[in-house]
Point group: C2
Chain length 261, copies 2
DNA sequence: CGACCCTACACGTATGTACGAGTTGAGGAG
DNA sequence: CTCCTCAACTCGTACATACGTGTAGGGTCG
């Protein structure tokens, strides 16, 4: 704390004390007086500096944490969050020319960026689709789908979970049912099966993670997720796959190109 | 509370008491036992039910609030958050055929969906661009840009703030400098000036709002924002506008169409 | 019958206390 | 010199208490 100087409280302000303290610390972070990875003064030090109760300090720190600015580590301290390198997802990432190079989009992109990609928790089952999935795939309620779920990691850090749904009628007995779906991924397999892909539609929402999602992606408090649902359409207009993914918003920036025509 | 039955605490669990309580309430919300807009039992009632201190209850409620599941209203109670109707942004929303119909994209779409659109806080200034904006527009550090900032509302509820940057060289002395930029918006004006738009590139991040953003968009705690930066390119490859927008993630779903070619 | 006020009740802010549990580094034992 | 123990420091959880401030409903007074 020798380094970091914090202002005093303004007793004339009607802004709550814990908010004033949160403002001071937020300010220090935004100014760069506290850099990424730096330790925020301990609760005890802040109590002493401001002359307030511990709960007041904890409320202030809670504000910053829920803003995603800091993380607390039990027994160590509170630290300014450092942001991992961001993966940019380009809108041509599913272009055929990429599939033809023989690697799944995720593996190729991550290696190119100098990271070590991995995929785990691969599970493949057959099930009856939810009404939402059935509608997207144009299926009847009692049709069956193949469900491929998996988790993507970069340098051992989970960044995304994905669940794909493919009509069982299409996927049954094909390499799509194998954990390793082969070069180019399942989109390459679908094209080999005669479903020339025409376009994809992606729907993107942003929200706070559910408990299970926060766990699976090891998300710090205050980190939202992208919830992206992509539907793949074959040339005849038929939907052949729906992919439901949850991505750490820390790890991703999405980019899209839109026509002006 | 006669209606809502909550389990008792599990004293053998090593899960913190406030987390167990949060789990019970989250569960009730997910089951639908507590529906959107319903009042969560008051702190006093929960204290009585569980036989714990108020801080323990408040910690539990804090968890739900930061997950975006509930909102507290001073003097009234804690309520299950209700989600406003979602505006879907289609990837063809900036297609020329829409501009030619004479309304800005936001106005037309909102009216079509049966809402009342409005725009306020329109400010137009001239400034030197930040390095990031200068790079996107292909400008030198000392070139000037026109800055158009505004806020969009639906039925009086703010949903989005936007700041556009246009090279001063292009916009100076044109209707782009007027608060009401005329039929079809500034993209129509740019085309009238001879800059046939070719395509847009949008970059999307998701994060928790800054304090000012939460205020401007009246965001409840636990609601993240989309931060979208769109660059408009003319036929000759020149960037003619950058639009930096912050959108309530509650109010929007983004959709994009990707080619498979 | 309407306007006002008062009172429960709700959450917001703040103090003080206590103990638990993870981390770290200094110092002592071998 | 190395290993281990332990103390000090950190955040996590929980209790008890007090008062402030916003809301809403009912009763009272004009």
């Amino acid at each position: 704390m020798a380094e970091l100087s914090l202002p005093d409280l303004d007793p004339t302000s009607d802004r709550a004390v814990f908010r004033q303290i949160a403002d001071h610390l937020r300010d220090a972070i935004e100014r760069g007086a506290l850099a990424q990875g730096d330790k925020v003064p301990s609760e005890a030090r802040l109590m002493e500096h401001y002359g307030v109760a511990r709960m007041t300090i904890r409320n202030a720190l809670q504000v910053l944490q829920s803003e995603g600015l800091t993380v607390a580590e039990h027994g160590r301290g509170v630290f300014v969050r450092s942001h991992p390198p961001v993966r940019r997802l380009a809108s041509d990432r599913f272009a055929r020319r990429h599939r033809e190079q023989g690697k799944a989009a995720f593996i190729a992109e991550t290696e190119e960026a100098g990271g070590t990609p991995s995929v785990d928790s691969i599970k493949i089952t057959e099930a009856t689709p939810t009404p939402d999935i059935a509608e997207r795939l144009g299926l009847a309620a009692k049709d069956r789908v193949i469900v491929r779920s998996r988790r993507y990691l970069i340098n051992g850090q989970p960044v995304e979970t994905a669940v794909s749904y493919i009509p069982a009628e299409i996927a049954k007995g094909t390499p799509i049912m194998q954990p390793d779906s082969g070069p180019g991924g399942i989109y390459a397999r679908l094209e080999e099966l005669g479903f020339q892909l025409d376009h994809f539609i992606e729907e993107i929402k942003s929200r706070m993670p559910l408990r299970d999602e926060a766990k699976a992606l090891r998300l710090a408090p205050g980190v939202p997720v992208f919830h992206l649902v992509r539907t793949a359409y074959a040339g005849d207009g038929r939907a052949v796959e729906v992919c439901d993914t949850v991505m750490s918003s820390d790890a991703y920036m999405l980019t899209y190109e839109l026509p002006a025509r």
